[in-house]
């Protein structure tokens, strides 16, 4: 009965304390936590540990007291047995010659594949040096970079989802200019590769005349101007071409130049040469 009472008392005391206290057999759980590191961080050495000396004693410093331990004798035998001498010769590390002929002479042998010759381990993690077991698979178990942009290793892998066609017709990626257009379609201002602008007699530009305005061009006349006259419009040039024959009369003066008839005219104070020949006959 007393044992039972004692046992129950001890059990109650254990329950009141922490389980750690039960494990450490201590009724002060705080100190028990502190001893095993507890909730305050890693375990620390007990405060009662002897501090290390700050500086090592000098060699020539006399010892204060002779050591109580006996000094080891110089002739003391070695208790650890020496290693046994090797009776077998060391195995040859060079590779055995292959029985098959080397059909791929440029390929290094397997044992030395990607392995440094001086016995260093292979550079597994070096970039751009895939090892033998690798087949394009990057390290760390990552999948191959087939779906990465700009690396369409497999044509079907880079296809956009939902069955959309590849982005060939997107702007800035004119892989096929006429894709999606009817046959024969050409972009605006398209010219064949051997196209050249048509011949045009120079000068290509002539500014407006201060009296007559914008000049006009006719192949057989060159630059000419127009001016409204009574019941018609006068077409005229300012300068006659070369090799003209004059036709003089009492009423007017005509010039025949390359089959074109001009009439010398005083127009707004300026001598011009009105084109008498019908332009339709010159076409």
């Amino acid at each position: 009965m007393k044992k039972l009472l004692l046992a129950s008392t001890a059990a109650i005391a254990m329950l009141l304390s922490s389980p750690d206290a039960v494990l450490t057999l201590s009724f002060q759980p705080d100190s028990a936590e502190a001893q095993r590191g507890g909730f305050r961080g890693p375990a620390q050495k007990p405060a009662m540990s002897r501090p290390r000396p700050q500086t090592r004693p000098a060699f020539n410093k006399p010892r204060p007291f002779p050591s109580a331990r006996p000094r080891p004798s110089v002739n003391r035998p070695i208790t650890r047995p020496r290693p046994r001498p090797q009776t077998r010769p060391s195995p040859i590390t060079r590779p055995r010659p292959s029985l098959r002929p080397n059909l791929r002479p440029n390929r290094p042998n397997r044992p030395n594949a990607n392995r440094p010759s001086n016995g260093r381990p292979p550079a597994w993690n070096k970039p751009n040096r895939p090892n033998r077991p690798s087949t394009g698979m990057p390290g760390n178990g990552r999948p191959p970079a087939w779906n990465k942009p700009n690396r369409p290793n497999k044509p079907g892998v880079g296809r956009p989802p939902n069955g959309r066609p590849p982005a060939w017709n997107k702007p800035n990626r004119p892989n096929k200019p006429g894709a999606g257009r009817p046959p024969g379609w050409r972009p605006p201002h398209w010219r064949p590769p051997n196209w050249r602008p048509p011949f045009w007699r120079p000068p290509y530009y002539r500014p407006d005349h201060h009296l007559w305005g914008r000049p006009l061009w006719f192949p057989r006349l060159g630059w000419y101007y127009t001016h409204p006259v009574r019941n018609s419009t006068a077409a005229f040039v300012g300068v006659l071409p070369d090799n003209c024959d004059g036709i003089y009369s009492e009423d007017e003066t005509l010039y025949e130049c390359n089959g074109i008839l001009y009439r010398e005219t005083y127009l707004r104070g300026v001598i011009v040469y009105e084109i008498i020949t019908d332009l339709d006959d010159l076409r």
Partner: protein, 265 residues
Amino acid sequence: MKRLAFAISAMTIGLLPSVTFAQNSDSQEAASAIDSQAVDIAKASTKFLSSLPALQTGWFVTYDEVVAGREKKTYIWSGSSALERGKGYRSTSERGDTTREYVYDGKSFTVASLDRGYYASLSMTGPFDDLVTNLQDNHGITLPVWEVFSAQNGDAFLNDVVEATYHGVTLVGGTPAHHLSFRSSSEDRQMWIATDPERPVPLMVVGTDPYQQGWPQYHAFFHNWNTAPKFQPDMFSFDTGDTLRRVTLPKLRAEAGGGEIEAGN
């Protein structure tokens, strides 16, 4: 309601004097903008010139052409002109590298370039003012300094003047002259008219086009005025001879008519 009617009546009555005052001020401003002294001097000069049976003067004209809206190209046109009313007109001018003769004998008008060897002729009758109008409207030809010779249209500009200012007397080539300035709806003009009351001839005229970008101007300087000339009998006749070739002088459409200064070559 009575209050509202009273207020409107009061406002109307109160506004009436102000409206009347505004009208009076406008007319006063218009009247004050025209200096009668300047207008009188200019009209006296015009009347004097139109009353002369014959006159002759030398002239030197520069006129601008605005290029590309800002650059001015100035041309020079110089010569002398003579008129005997009822008899004929002759003007000899130089422009560029050519000469030009304008001869009118009361029956036909001839324009010729002796150095270029051509002439153009028109049959025409009437006084000098009809000649000016016909050439401008139908052929685009403007006679040089025609205003000082015109008996009818010489004061046309002065009738449209909206502002006139008298600036005083200044010397023009050693001759004292009245400096006048005018503004009309079509042109701004300055005139220098001799102060001699017996011979109020114009000495210089400057005109400005207020509607064209660049505001081109013309300057006309008059010299060697002869208000009582004696001309030779063949002064207003033109002999084409055998060396000159005749060119055509076409009629222009009304919208392409004259009124502009010839560019000439």
